[in-house]
C-alpha cells in the first residue's frame, strides 16, 4: 500500500467520526507519522479523545487512555515492579504508557511529578524502572489534552515541557452543518463500532520510515531556520523557538509532504505547520498580541528562498 493511499484512507476513516475537522485530523496524522506528540488544547466535548481514538483504531494500534487526576502517581504511567512470590523475583507491570497511542486526558490536572514521568517517557521513548530499561512501543505517540479555561486546581505545563510536544492544536467547535450531521448520525449508533482499521502497524512503521526519507531542499531548510531565528529576535516575543522546535518543524513538514503525496517538502508545508508547531513553545511579551498572531506575522514577513537557482 503506497503512502498517499494509506494516508488518505486513514484520514477518511478519522473523518467518519470527527465531522468537519480535516485540519485537526491531518495534524494528528502528521504528528503521528513524524513520531511526535500532540497537545490538544480545547474545551471538553469537542472530540479530542475521539480524534485520538479514531487515529489509533484506524491503524490497528494499541490505544491507552489515562485520565490525569491530582492523585495519579508516576508509576501509574510508567509501570511498577511487583515482587512475584511464585517466581521469587520482581516482575514488571507495564504502566499506561506502554501503547502505540497514549491519550493523556487533562494532563494539567496531574501533579508535576506525574507529568514529568510522562514527558520523560515521551522524550526518551523508554522507561526505566528499578534500573531496568523498557523500550516503548513503536510507533509511540502521546496525545495530551488540556482545558485552557478551567485553571483552578491544575498544574499548567511549564514551557520546557510544552516544548516536548511537536504540535499543539485546538479542535474548535464544528460549524452548524457539521454539528447537525453529527447529531443525526451519532444519535442512533456509535460510529466507533464500524470503524475498521485501514492500515496495519507494519504499514504505519513503513510510512514513518518513508516520511523520514522525504527530501528537504536547502532552501526549505533555510526557510525553517529563518522563521525560527525570526521568533528569537522578534520584539513581541519573550521566548523564541528552540532548536528542537526547528527540528520538529522540519520533521513534521516531511510527514506532511508525504501525506500530501509529495517526495519533497515545500515552503508551504512549513507555512501550514508553523502555526501548530511553534506557538505553544513561545512566550509573548507582556502587552503584545497573541502568540498566534505574532507567528502568523513572522511567517508572512519571512522571505521564501527561491531555491538553488540564482535570481534571473
Amino acid at each position: 500500500m503506497d503512502f498517499e493511499t494509506a494516508a488518505r484512507a486513514i484520514l477518511a476513516n478519522i473523518e467518519k467520526v470527527i465531522d468537519g475537522k480535516p485540519e485537526a485530523a491531518e495534524a494528528a496524522l502528521v504528528v503521528f507519522l513524524a513520531e511526535g506528540h500532540l497537545l490538544i488544547e480545547d474545551v471538553p466535548g469537542v472530540g479530542k479523545t475521539v480524534l485520538a481514538k479514531a487515529l489509533g483504531r484506524s491503524v490497528s494500534c494499541s490505544v491507552r487512555r489515562i485520565q490525569f487526576t491530582p492523585d495519579l502517581l508516576p508509576s501509574d504511567i510508567t509501570g511498577v515492579s511487583v515482587y512475584n512470590q511464585a517466581d521469587r523475583e520482581f516482575e514488571f507491570k507495564p504502566g499506561a504508557v506502554f501503547a502505540n497511542i497514549v491519550i493523556g486526558d487533562e494532563i494539567n490536572r496531574a501533579s508535576p511529578k506525574t507529568q514529568s514521568a510522562l514527558l520523560e517517557a515521551m522524550e526518551e521513548r523508554q522507561v526505566t524502572v528499578d534500573g531496568t530499561t523498557y523500550v516503548l512501543a513503536s510507533p509511540f505517540t502521546v496525545v495530551a489534552t488540556q482545558n485552557p479555561y478551567e485553571m483552578e486546581g491544575t498544574y499548567a505545563l511549564p514551557e520546557a515541557q510544552r516544548d516536548r510536544f511537536m504540535a499543539r492544536i485546538s479542535m474548535g467547535y464544528p460549524d452548524s452543518a457539521a454539528e447537525l450531521a453529527m447529531v443525526r448520525g451519532r444519535d442512533a449508533e456509535n460510529p466507533f463500532d464500524d470503524l475498521e482499521s485501514v492500515a496495519s502497524i507494519e504499514d504505519v512503521q513503513a510510512m514513518i520510515a518513508a516520511a523520514r526519507a522525504i527530501y528537504v531542499s536547502p532552501a526549505v531548510e533555510q526557510y525553517a531556520v529563518d522563521i525560527a531565528q525570526a521568533t528569537r529576535v522578534d520584539a513581541d516575543l519573550r521566548l523564541g523557538a528552540s532548536p528542537r522546535a526547528t527540528l520538529q518543524l522540519v520533521r513534521a513538514a516531511k510527514a506532511r509532504a508525504a501525506v500530501q503525496g509529495r517526495d519533497f517538502v515545500l515552503p508551504d508545508d512549513i507555512d501550514v505547520l508553523v502555526p501548530v508547531v511553534l506557538p505553544h513553545r513561545l512566550i509573548p511579551m507582556r502587552g503584545a498580541s497573541s502568540v498566534e498572531d505574532v507567528v502568523d506575522r513572522i511567517v508572512a514577513e519571512t522571505p521564501v528562498p527561491a531555491g538553488a537557482v540564482q535570481p534571473s
Binding site: Y215, D268, S289, R297, E301, V309, S312
Partner: protein
C-alpha cells in the same frame, strides 16, 4: 562549415547559403540607408567611397567566417583601417603596411572632420575628412551587423541598428527621411526576421508573434511619416521669439553672419537669373530695432501684411519698373526666403510662405530647401533731383522704431555723422555722404578678422564707436555704423541681412546666371525716403556698388519721368496684398499640413516603446533559458503578474503566489498548476528535471491573465510594465500587520 555551428549561442541549423543571404540583405539595406545621407553630404563621390570601404570590410567578415577564424571583428576592423588608409592616405603606406604617417594623417583628417561637423551646417561639402568619417562609420556598422547576424536572437537588435542609421541623417540635417526608404529597409529587415524564424520548431513559433507586432509597428510608423511630416528646423522659424534663425540655427543673425563669413569652405547657397539691370541684393531678414547691444527684427507682428512705410506707394513722377528674378536654392536652409527688395510678387514656392515685415517672406513650417521660385520686384529709379527734394518726417510715418537710438551714445558716433554730413542740405546728400565716408573717403578697410582680434566684434553701440575709431571691420560694422549714424541725424534706417549680389557663373538664354555663395552673406543699410520707400545703400567697401541716383543732366536712356502715368500705386498695392495664389496655405495643405518634427516623433515612439521592448526582450531571454531551468519562467510569471497589478512578494511561496494569481478572472488554472508543479519540483525536490520546458504553460497563463484584465490594465502592462522598476517587496497588509501594531 561555418563557425556558426560551434556553439549553442550561435545560430544552428543554418546553412552557409542562409548566412550569405542574410549578409547580402544587410548589405543592400546599408546601401539604401546610405542614400539617406545625401541630405547631409553634398555630391556623389563619397557614396562610392563609402560603399567601397563597407564592401571590403563586409567581404573580410564573410571570408573570415567562411574560413572559421576566431576573432572576426578585430581582424575586420584592421582590414577596414587598411582600406581607409589605402583610399585616403595611400602615400603613407609601405605596401599595405601602415606607417606612423598613416596614423598621423588619418588623425589629422579626423580632427578636420570634427571641425567641419561642429562648424558647418548640413549639407556639408564632400570633403575628404567628411567622407572618411562616413566611410569608417559604415565600415564599423558592417562589422556590428555581421556580429549581430551571428547571434540567434539579434533580429531586434539588427532592427534597432537599421533604424538608428535611418534616423541619423534626419537628426543631422532635419530633412524628412524618405518613406520609401523606410519601407524598403523595414521590408528587408522583415526578410531577415523571417529567415531566422523559418528555422522550424518552437523557435519559429515563438518568434512569429513579436515579428508580426514589430512589422505592423514599422508599417504604422511608415504610414504616419507623411502625415506628421517632420522638420527639425521648423523649431526656430519665428522672428518674434528667440532664437531667430537666418542661416541655420544661430542665435543672433548679425553675430552669426560674421561667423559664417569667417568660416572656411564655400558652399553655393543659391543661383539666380534676373531681369534687373544689376544683380540684386537678396534680402533674407530685416532688422530695425537697435537696442544698443544688437540689432533685432523688432516687435511688430511679423506676419502682418506690410503697410505704411512698407507699402509700395510712389509719387507718380518716380520711375518704377518691374523685373523678375528666378532663384534656385542650392544649399541653404532657413525659414526666410532670399528675395530682391522690394518684393512685389512671388510664384513657384512650395509650402506656406507669408509676406512679412521688411517685405521678406517667411514660413511658419517650411524652409528654403529645394525651392525654386520666381520673384517680381520693383526697380525704383528716382532721379537725384527727386531724391534731394524728399524730406522724411519719421513721426508722421510711424517710423519711430527706425530712428530710435539707445539712451547712452558714445560721442564719436554723432560727431562723426555731423562732421561727415556737414554741407549736405538734404536727406539724400546726407545719406550719400555717410555712405561715401564709410566706403571710400574715411579710410576704412574691410576685414573679417580685425574686429575679432581687437575684441570689438558684434554690433552694439560700443562696437560701432570702436569701429569708427579703428576703421576696420566687415559688413556688420559698416552697415550698423551707417544706420546708427543716419539715425543720429533723424533719418529712418534699418539693417538688411541677406546675400550681396553674386558673381556670374553662366550665361543661359541670354541671361546671366548668378551664384551667391556663403561668402556673399552680407548686411547692408536701408534708408527710408518718404514717397519712395526704403532704398538700399552700400557702405561696405568692395561689395556691390555705392547707391547713387542719376544726376540731372547726366546721359540716361530712360529718364522720361512722364512715362509713369496712370496709377502705379493702386496696381502695386493690389498685387502686393495678393502675393501669389500658388503660395496660399489652402492650396498647399496636402503637402505641408500640420507638421511636427519627425525626430521628436521617432524619439517619442522609441521612448514609448522602450519599456515594452525591454520587457519583451527580458521575456524572450527568460523563455530562451527555459530548457535548462524553470526558474526564469516562474520569474517571468511573477513579473507578468506584477505588470498586471498583482504585487510581487518575496514572502510568497510559489504555491501562495499561484493561489493569489488564481483569484484573477479567467486565469488558466490547469496551466498554472502544471507550471507550479514544475517550479516546485525544480526548486525544492531532489531532482528537478521535468519533461518539456513549460513555455506553453507560461504562455497560456500569461494569455489568460491578459484576457482577464481590463483594456486599461493591458495597455499599462504593455507600455509601462511595473516589473521593470525592480523587485519591490510587497508589504503584508491587513490583519497580520495591524495585529502587531495594535497590540
Amino acid at each position: 562549415m561555418l563557425r556558426a555551428e560551434a556553439s549553442t549561442q550561435r545560430l544552428t541549423g543554418r546553412t552557409t547559403r542562409d548566412t550569405v543571404v542574410d549578409h547580402l540583405i544587410i548589405a543592400v539595406a546599408f546601401a539604401l540607408l546610405l542614400s539617406g545621407f545625401r541630405s547631409v553630404i553634398a555630391g556623389n563621390d563619397w557614396w562610392i567611397t563609402t560603399i567601397l570601404v563597407a564592401t571590403l570590410t563586409g567581404l573580410a567578415c564573410a571570408v573570415l567566417r567562411a574560413v572559421g577564424v576566431r576573432w572576426v571583428a578585430p581582424i575586420a576592423i584592421v582590414v577596414e583601417f587598411l582600406a581607409l588608409a589605402w583610399i585616403f592616405v595611400p602615400g603613407t603606406l609601405i605596401g599595405i603596411l601602415p606607417t606612423f604617417d598613416t596614423f598621423r594623417e588619418l588623425g589629422n583628417l579626423a580632427s578636420a572632420a570634427q571641425d567641419i561637423i561642429i562648424e558647418e551646417q548640413a549639407p556639408v561639402a564632400a570633403a575628404k575628412p567628411v567622407v572618411l568619417v562616413v566611410a569608417s562609420s559604415f565600415g564599423l556598422l558592417v562589422i556590428v551587423a555581421d556580429l549581430l547576424l551571428e547571434r540567434r536572437r539579434a533580429a531586434s537588435a539588427i532592427g534597432l541598428l537599421l533604424l538608428s542609421v535611418f534616423a541619423t541623417p534626419a537628426l543631422i540635417s532635419g530633412d524628412t527621411p524618405s518613406v520609401w526608404l523606410f519601407v524598403a529597409v523595414a521590408a528587408l529587415w522583415l526578410v531577415i526576421l523571417r529567415s531566422r524564424t523559418a528555422l522550424g520548431g518552437t523557435l519559429a513559433r515563438r518568434q512569429r508573434g513579436p515579428a508580426v507586432v514589430l512589422g505592423v509597428a514599422a508599417l504604422a510608423a511608415a504610414v504616419a511619416f507623411p502625415v506628421i511630416s517632420p522638420d527639425v528646423s521648423a523649431v526656430a522659424t519665428s522672428w518674434g521669439k528667440p532664437p531667430p534663425a537666418v542661416f541655420g540655427r544661430g542665435i543672433n543673425p548679425m553675430l552669426e553672419l560674421g561667423q559664417n563669413l569667417r568660416r572656411n569652405g564655400t558652399t553655393t547657397a543659391l543661383t539666380y537669373t534676373t531681369g534687373l539691370p544689376q544683380a540684386p541684393y537678396l534680402k533674407v531678414a530685416t532688422l530695425r530695432d537697435f537696442t544698443g547691444k544688437t540689432w533685432k527684427p523688432g516687435t511688430t507682428q511679423q506676419f502682418a501684411a506690410p503697410e505704411g512705410a512698407e507699402a509700395l506707394e510712389f509719387s507718380p513722377d518716380i520711375k518704377v519698373e518691374k523685373e523678375s528674378t528666378t532663384i534656385t536654392i542650392q544649399q541653404l536652409r532657413t525659414t526666410m526666403l532670399p528675395v530682391p527688395y522690394p518684393l512685389d510678387k512671388v510664384s513657384g514656392l512650395k509650402g506656406e510662405w507669408l509676406l512679412g515685415f521688411g517685405r521678406t517672406m517667411t514660413s511658419p513650417d517650411d524652409d528654403t530647401r529645394g525651392q525654386k521660385y520666381s520673384v517680381t520686384s520693383l526697380d525704383i529709379q528716382p532721379t537725384a533731383t527727386q531724391m534731394r527734394a524728399i524730406s522724411t518726417n519719421p513721426r508722421d510715418l510711424l517710423l519711430q522704431e527706425e530712428v530710435r537710438l539707445p539712451d547712452k551714445m558714445p560721442k564719436i558716433i554723432e560727431d562723426t555723422a555731423r562732421r561727415v554730413t556737414k554741407g549736405a542740405t538734404n536727406q539724400y546728400d546726407q545719406v550719400v555722404a555717410l555712405q561715401d565716408y564709410l566706403r571710400n573717403d574715411g579710410g576704412f578697410t574691410y576685414s573679417e578678422t580685425a574686429p575679432v582680434a581687437d575684441d570689438y566684434d558684434g554690433n552694439g553701440i560700443d562696437v560701432i564707436a570702436k569701429f569708427l575709431d579703428k576703421k576696420s571691420g566687415y559688413c556688420v560694422h559698416f552697415s550698423s555704423a551707417m544706420a546708427v549714424m543716419a539715425r543720429t541725424l533723424g533719418i529712418p534706417s534699418r539693417i538688411a541681412v541677406g546675400y550681396a549680389p553674386g558673381s556670374v557663373v553662366n550665361v543661359k538664354d541670354g541671361q546671366n546666371q548668378y551664384e551667391a555663395t556663403s561668402d556673399d552673406l552680407h548686411a547692408w543699410t536701408e534708408i527710408y525716403f518718404e514717397g519712395i520707400g526704403w532704398i538700399t545703400f552700400e557702405p561696405t567697401p568692395g561689395v556691390g556698388s555705392a547707391t547713387a541716383f542719376k544726376e540731372p543732366g547726366a546721359p540716361a536712356s530712360n529718364s522720361d519721368d512722364g512715362e509713369f502715368s496712370g496709377s502705379p500705386r493702386r496696381a502695386a498695392r493690389d498685387e502686393a496684398t495678393n502675393v501669389d495664389s500658388g503660395a496660399t496655405p489652402t492650396s498647399t495643405t496636402t503637402k505641408t499640413a500640420p507638421r511636427t518634427a519627425l525626430i521628436s516623433f521617432m524619439v517619442l515612439l522609441v521612448m514609448i516603446g522602450i519599456p515594452a521592448l525591454l520587457r519583451w526582450s527580458r521575456r524572450r531571454w527568460r523563455i530562451s533559458r527555459a530548457g535548462s531551468s524553470v526558474d526564469p519562467l516562474w520569474r517571468e510569471l511573477e513579473d507578468t503578474a506584477r505588470d498586471f497589478g498583482l504585487p510581487f512578494s518575496p514572502t510568497d511561496t510559489p504555491r501562495g503566489f499561484a493561489a493569489r494569481l488564481r483569484t484573477r478572472d479567467g486565469i488558466d488554472g490547469e496551466a498554472l498548476s502544471r507550471l507550479l508543479r514544475r517550479v516546485e519540483r525544480a526548486r525544492f525536490a531532489r531532482s528537478g528535471v521535468a519533461e518539456g520546458d513549460g513555455v506553453d504553460d507560461l504562455r497560456a497563463v500569461i494569455a489568460s491573465l491578459a484576457q482577464g484584465a481590463s483594456r486599461q490594465e493591458r495597455w499599462r502592462a504593455l507600455a509601462l510594465p511595473r516589473s521593470l522598476s525592480g523587485r519591490r517587496a510587497y508589504a503584508p497588509s491587513g490583519p497580520l500587520r495591524t495585529a502587531s501594531t495594535l497590540g
